[in-house]
Symmetry: D2
Subunit: 361 residues, 4 copies
């Protein structure tokens, strides 16, 4: 396999081999459609074991719908959801919450430190909202775990936020598109990172971490799940051949595949960060706690990497020059090392002077 | 492989081997996410060739979303869609059109003959609606092709309806969840069955006919596609690893796989029908033009089949006793023959009492 | 005052003098806005007395919003409402239920006899819907009282329907845009016509019967009212100077104004009907139980009335030639007599040819 | 009339006598319902004259629906609207834009100076939004005129904002709940304050300034009005006796009543401000350019006013202690003087010492 140059997103990768095998294995024979199959029925128990508690699990195809369904459920009959300024559900899902709730949900951004909302800010926001009797009433908070800037809420931080939320009659949603990376980082159990810290419902991500296309909405507070079945169906996420989603999710949580993949991706991001640290002029935008690095590179390094065919996504205002270097379950150490070597090469005037840049670029 | 006893739906089958192979093949290497991959980009051209005209193609995960997106687009800013009384989009998608349109779309059933709406009935309905100035204004008609009762609109019938619709400023949608089966039956080109007959936008089905989970919204009238990109994204059907949907659709239309699968399924349904014809007391509910048979069986036959582990879905009011026997791309002649033999056995008192089941089955 | 020639609708009239006086009287002094005024606070008690039970009352500006709010509340989180084929909420409010519910409500028409739905048809519809697991689930029935064809449900008929509904876990809404006319006709108490017969929530109409612009949503089942306050506000029907709506409603139910107005309008419609009965060729479309007459007139009569400046609204398909002759609280006997005299004149060829129009008109 | 002590809102007043007279005058005779009356038809021409250009005018009952309809129209098929942080449409209408648009509209707050958005901030926000391809796309800006903090955009400021908006393909909405107060303050023509400065559509307020319940949506860009008729009807703001709304609006703009009322209210607020200026410890929150004063009073003054029965609304976080003193068209100089005298009395230690505070407090 050629060296990986696409660090644009953890979504540029395909599916993990274990996931593909599970899909192929699930293909044999006939099953009841629409989730009446053995894989889907087994999933409830498998997730209950994973999370050490009774749960209701609903597979869906994308993270946007997982978050949108949660927003619709948590704000009914209508209300607002506090999010971080950078929250994916707020700024990167084309207004999914408004859509999925039929105009009943609004996302309200709170200030963040290292991508994380603080309980005190939540408390203050709810208090101020209480003084505006004709505003959309707050109903929930949504925490992105891991955050959009590669940081992780500790269980204590989640607990503080959840207590502040519950004390004010707000539900707690966790957008766990990178829940695996967060748990891998924290070294705690999935239960400790979620319901034991007060999370009511979790968007459990798999696609960014090796699934082909599968996410799950996991209700710890099962009374909230009452309407999800219908909402999912009309939204087109009750797949007729649901076994193929369930099989992906089952393989994902079997033998710790999800954590192994996440640990590896996290480690690769650390390797990127450590390598870049030694380049003068590199400014990191945030801590690197999970599988990607937010960083502003010296212009020469950036130009060089692009010239060599590397790709990244941008973050923040264009003037800031911050990029995201995303590692995935299939990023290899040699891929990272090649990236770092290229960066170092362009960072060092002598090296650039000694060796002519190949004309072909 | 054991004999197939699950005739509940064409969705009880898994994916066709060619589809699975395409998924596995698409797994290699990194790609741009969200449809920026080579498979997705190629798809536009492949569908243009298939339909012999420029089109815009949008892969989605389920038929419900394909129909919902079309309903939202066609009724904007708001309006009603004429459908058949039995239309899947009306009665089997949990109110998908209302949901996808944010409350702007209403489905209005028209009477049918053999599952098909007639142009004269459409014309009359529009005229009457015109007299109700405060009713939801009609904006479109949605034809299910093949219909929910196993019949097929001929191109001439579609053309008549489309002309009646267009003359009254209504758009024409075709819910082609079984478009393949219809084209296979008609023996015409995909173009003749769709845009040449006046269809503006098509929900092109693949899942019921061998895909794992993939449908496509195909715009022949490309001005209608303007908002689809955003609507699909907020609805959670812009898959990050879109290549896996596009690869399925590409394999589906390559080397006529879609038509080969459909022809086979149609033939199996004919085999079922012919076999049942010879059982006294069997009443067919509608013609069998595509891949399933709607039929009321004598009680003894029904009881026997259920006792032997066969499953079917019911249709119409429970008192009518009508079932649907659905064949799929992977239904084998021997599966049908086993079904028929069982039916015949229970239909004939002497056979049940005296004779062992023939070994050949 | 000149003779009334406008029988198009009971809405062509202005407001009753008692209503205008109440508005003028309410103008003095400052009040808390948004319903914190004395009129609005008093209204709860006044309606409780009128209906002989505790209620929650929410004034709104139009019947469409009263019905829309009820539809949104009764179908939440989503579902369908059975209505009559002719129901105003279904065909004359531009899709209000879909709008007010954010796409969660669908109206499903049932067959009617004399404009009324029968309990047996409701029961059958619910049963059939139960067999369609992916259809929009039924949640309520909405009865128009008086109906769109000038008939009235008896309390026994309402009770039968309500029992059929409640036994199937459906709510019962009454669209009482002409509730006053119905109660006047029935000679029963408002309680007997509503909650004692099983009605959960009532759109209590006033505008068609003498108010300037005021309707009320009256919750007998007060647990249903939980979200109405917010829904009304975002929908723009929490009027800042709410006292002017409440004052209208208070005057409307004071000293039986609502019933006196309704009785009068009903009597005027009877007078119209009796007068028309004597014209050969006149066909009545339905019984005349409240304040309007549905009738097909001989062409000469119709032409003559139009030529003389009379106006009516049409009903049904244009080919049927049915018109509605609507009487209001302010229709005078001499207005009716002038209408009848004109009709008779044009009905009789000799009269038209030979005799001058009688001076008495 | 007793002295006015209710300065909570300009909505605590009743209707101006000219408005009530117009309502009473409009009551005579029958008219076509639903806006087919002479008052409503005349309104188009009257507003065209007022604004010196062709317009389309749609009367509605409240400001929330005027703004909601505009939001729905301007964001279709979906998108975001920039507003000020304090915008009524954002924080005081229970999510009206989301509701009226069926989940298609989002309000996005921009920073303000003295309640006003600056063109440079708008430009920057649009630029940043352009970098977020999966965010809700910006479609419009909504300016509140006069603002929520008693300031006024000059025509030049509006023009700058409108040019910045139009250059980026955004529409310009003006929430003119207090448009009259703004025009009165500016001394310009209504045209100069609206379409000549680039406004596409205006929520023209009347209720806060003397109407009973009437606002108008005024389209200068008439192509935007295409869907308003249906949207208004399904939203329950096509009043059947529309003449009563139109008559209010006609009286409002006849003989400059709207400007006379607004000038008076503005002057009363100036009188309040000037009187308070002389009290030590009084902090004004913003300039007082229209009919209300935002101010933090010394605790003793606040306590005294409350004890004497005065009422005001609070603004901002409770800890700030800011109140709004709102004057209306019917606030008399003696009302203001009594308020000021009371404030001064409680502000002066000697006075308080001389006279014992009544025990009841």
């Amino acid at each position: 396999m050629s060296v990986k140059k696409n660090f644009y997103s953890d979504n540029v990768s395909g599916a993990a081999p274990e996931i593909l095998e599970a899909i192929v294995a699930a293909n044999a024979g006939d099953t009841a459609p629409y989730g009446g199959d053995a894989w889907s029925e087994r999933l409830q128990q498998r997730f209950a074991e994973l999370f050490e508690t009774e749960v209701e699990v609903y597979p869906v195809g994308t993270g946007t719908v997982a978050n949108g369904l949660c927003a619709a459920v948590l704000t009914a009959p209508y209300g607002s959801i506090y999010v971080s300024e950078a929250a994916h559900v707020h700024g990167s899902e084309c207004g999914g919450p408004e859509f999925w709730s039929g105009g009943n949900a609004r996302t309200v951004p709170l200030p963040t430190m290292d991508g994380k909302v603080a309980a005190a800010d939540l408390a203050r926001a709810v208090e101020e909202a209480g003084a505006r009797s004709a505003d959309v009433p707050p109903r929930a908070i949504s925490l992105t775990q891991a955050t959009e800037v590669s940081t992780v809420y500790t269980p204590v931080e989640v607990k503080d936020l959840a207590e502040a939320a519950h004390a004010r009659r707000l539900w707690v949603h966790m957008d766990g598109a990178r829940f695996a990376n967060a748990v891998a980082r924290l070294g705690c159990t999935p239960a400790e990172a979620s319901w034991k810290a007060g999370v009511d419902v979790l968007s459990f991500g798999a696609t960014k971490n090796g699934a082909l296309a599968a996410e799950a909405v996991v209700f710890f507070n099962r009374t909230l799940a009452e309407t999800i079945r219908y909402r999912r169906r009309r939204g087109g996420h009750l797949f007729s051949k649901m076994r193929f989603l369930s099989a992906q999710l089952e393989a994902f949580i079997t033998d710790d595949l999800w954590l192994r993949n996440a640990r590896h991706a996290n480690a690769m991001a650390q390797r990127v960060r450590e390598g870049l640290t030694r380049i003068p002029g590199v400014r990191f935008w945030s801590p690197t706690e999970v599988n990607f690095v937010l960083v502003a590179l010296p212009q020469a390094v950036w130009d060089g990497l692009v010239a060599e065919g590397y790709s990244f996504s941008r973050r923040g205002a264009p003037s800031e020059g911050v990029i995201r270097i995303a590692c995935a379950f299939d990023t290899r150490p040699e891929d990272v090392d090649a990236l770092l070597a290229t960066a170092h090469r362009y960072a060092s005037p002598q090296m650039r002077a000694d060796r002519p840049v190949p004309a072909a670029r």
